[in-house]
C-alpha cells in the first residue's frame, strides 16, 4: 500500500520518543568520572556511575 505524504508525516510523528521516554534527560549528569568524583567529595554526595556500550543520548545501550 502506498502511503501519502500526509500519512508518512503522521507515522513519523507517532513513532517519536515520548516525553516519558525522555525523562532521563532531567538528570544532571556530570561530564566525566573525574568531575563526578571531585564534586561528590566536595559536596558530600554519592557517585552513581552507569557504564554502557553505545551512547546514552541515542537511547541505545
Amino acid at each position: 500500500m502506498e502511503l501519502s505524504p500526509e500519512q508518512v508525516t503522521a507515522t513519523v510523528k507517532g513513532w517519536q520518543p515520548t516525553a516519558q521516554e525522555r525523562t532521563w534527560e532531567k538528570i544532571g549528569w556530570a561530564a566525566s568520572l573525574q568531575d563526578a568524583l571531585m564534586l561528590a567529595k566536595r559536596e558530600k554526595r554519592l557517585v552513581f556511575l552507569f557504564t554502557l556500550d553505545g551512547r546514552m543520548q541515542r537511547g541505545r545501550c
Partner: protein, 256 residues
C-alpha cells in the same frame, strides 16, 4: 529504562552525582579510575561488568553495584537510599543542571537526519503500536541516531544512489546491546527515488541487514520495507513492514 522513572531521577539528582560512561570512549585517567572501581568490586565480590551501575561513597570508595539486567527502579532506589543513610548524605538540589543532548554538528547545507527505531507490539485490536509498559527491558525504549550527509550525499540519496543509502539504512535496527555499525552487513538493498512534480522525490525500497544482538556474531537479521518523501525542505521515511528476527519494529526518519 530505569532512568525514566521519576523516583530514580529524584534520587539521583538529590543524593548523588550521576555520571555515565560509554565504554569505548573511556581513556587515560578515566580508564584508570574505572579500573580501580572494577578491582575494588572484584575484591568485595560484587557484580562487575561493562554494562553496570556502581555506587560510590563521597570519598570514591565502592559501596555497591548492580548488573544492568537487575537495575530496575526499586533496586536502584534501594542502593541509593541505603548508601545515603550509611554515608549520612543530606538530600539537596541537583549539583549539575540537566543539559539537552548534544547532536552531531551539521552545517546549514548538510542533511542531518534523525532516525528513530523502536520495537512494536500487537495491540488488542490486532494492530501494531509502540511498546508501552515494558519496564527496563530492551523493547522499552526507542533507539536514536543522527547520521549527517554532505550536500553531494544528500543529492545522491535523492538520485537513488544505493551506496549512499547504505549509510542510512545501516541504522535500521531496533535497540540491541550491539551498536557497532561496522558489524552490520547489508545483504540486500533496494533504494528507489522517483521524481514527482514540484521538486518532490518519492522514496521507497527494502533492506536485509545482518545485525548481531550482542557484539558476538549471530544470525539475526532485519528485513524492512520503507516509503517516504523528500524535497528541499523535507526528508521523511518510515518502514511499512520491519522485523528483527521475528520481532516487529519500526523506523522513522526525518530531518533533525
Amino acid at each position: 529504562m530505569s532512568f525514566n522513572d521519576s523516583r530514580v531521577v529524584t534520587a539521583l539528582n538529590s543524593l548523588t552525582v550521576p555520571v555515565y560512561l560509554s565504554n569505548d570512549l573511556v581513556k587515560g585517567a578515566e580508564h584508570a579510575a574505572l579500573t580501580r572501581i572494577h578491582q575494588e568490586g572484584y575484591a568485595k565480590k560484587l557484580s562487575v561488568g561493562t554494562v553496570h551501575c556502581f555506587l560510590l561513597a563521597p570519598d570514591g570508595t565502592l559501596l555497591d553495584t548492580i548488573h544492568v539486567a537487575k537495575a530496575n527502579p526499586p533496586r536502584i532506589l534501594e542502593i541509593i537510599e541505603r548508601g545515603a543513610q550509611e554515608q549520612e548524605i543530606l538530600s539537596g538540589k541537583p549539583l549539575i543542571s540537566p543539559q539537552p543532548s548534544a547532536l552531531p554538528a551539521a552545517s546549514k547545507n548538510e542533511l542531518r537526519l534523525h532516525v528513530v527505531a523502536r520495537y512494536l507490539e500487537k495491540k488488542p485490536d490486532g494492530s501494531l503500536g509502540i511498546v508501552t509498559g515494558a519496564g527496563g527491558n530492551w523493547s522499552a525504549l526507542p533507539g536514536e541516531d543522527w547520521p549527517v550527509f554532505a550536500v553531494a550525499e544528500r543529492q545522491a540519496l535523492l538520485d537513488g544512489d544505493r551506496g549512499v543509502a547504505e549509510r542510512l539504512v545501516t541504522h535500521f535496527y531496533p535497540p540491541t546491546e550491539n551498536n557497532n555499525l561496522a558489524q552490520n552487513v547489508i545483504e540486500a538493498l533496494e533504494w528507489r527515488a522517483k521524481k514527482l512534480p514540484r521538486g518532490v522525490v518519492q522514496l521507497s525500497g527494502s533492506v536485509t541487514l545482518k545485525h548481531p544482538f550482542y557484539t558476538k556474531d549471530d544470525s539475526r537479521r532485519v528485513h524492512a520495507v520503507f516509503q517516504g518523501y523528500a524535497s528541499d525542505s523535507r526528508f521523511e521515511l518510515v518502514t511499512t513492514q520491519a522485523q528483527y528476527e521475528n520481532l516487529p519494529f519500526a523506523v522513522a526518519v526525518q530531518r533533525g
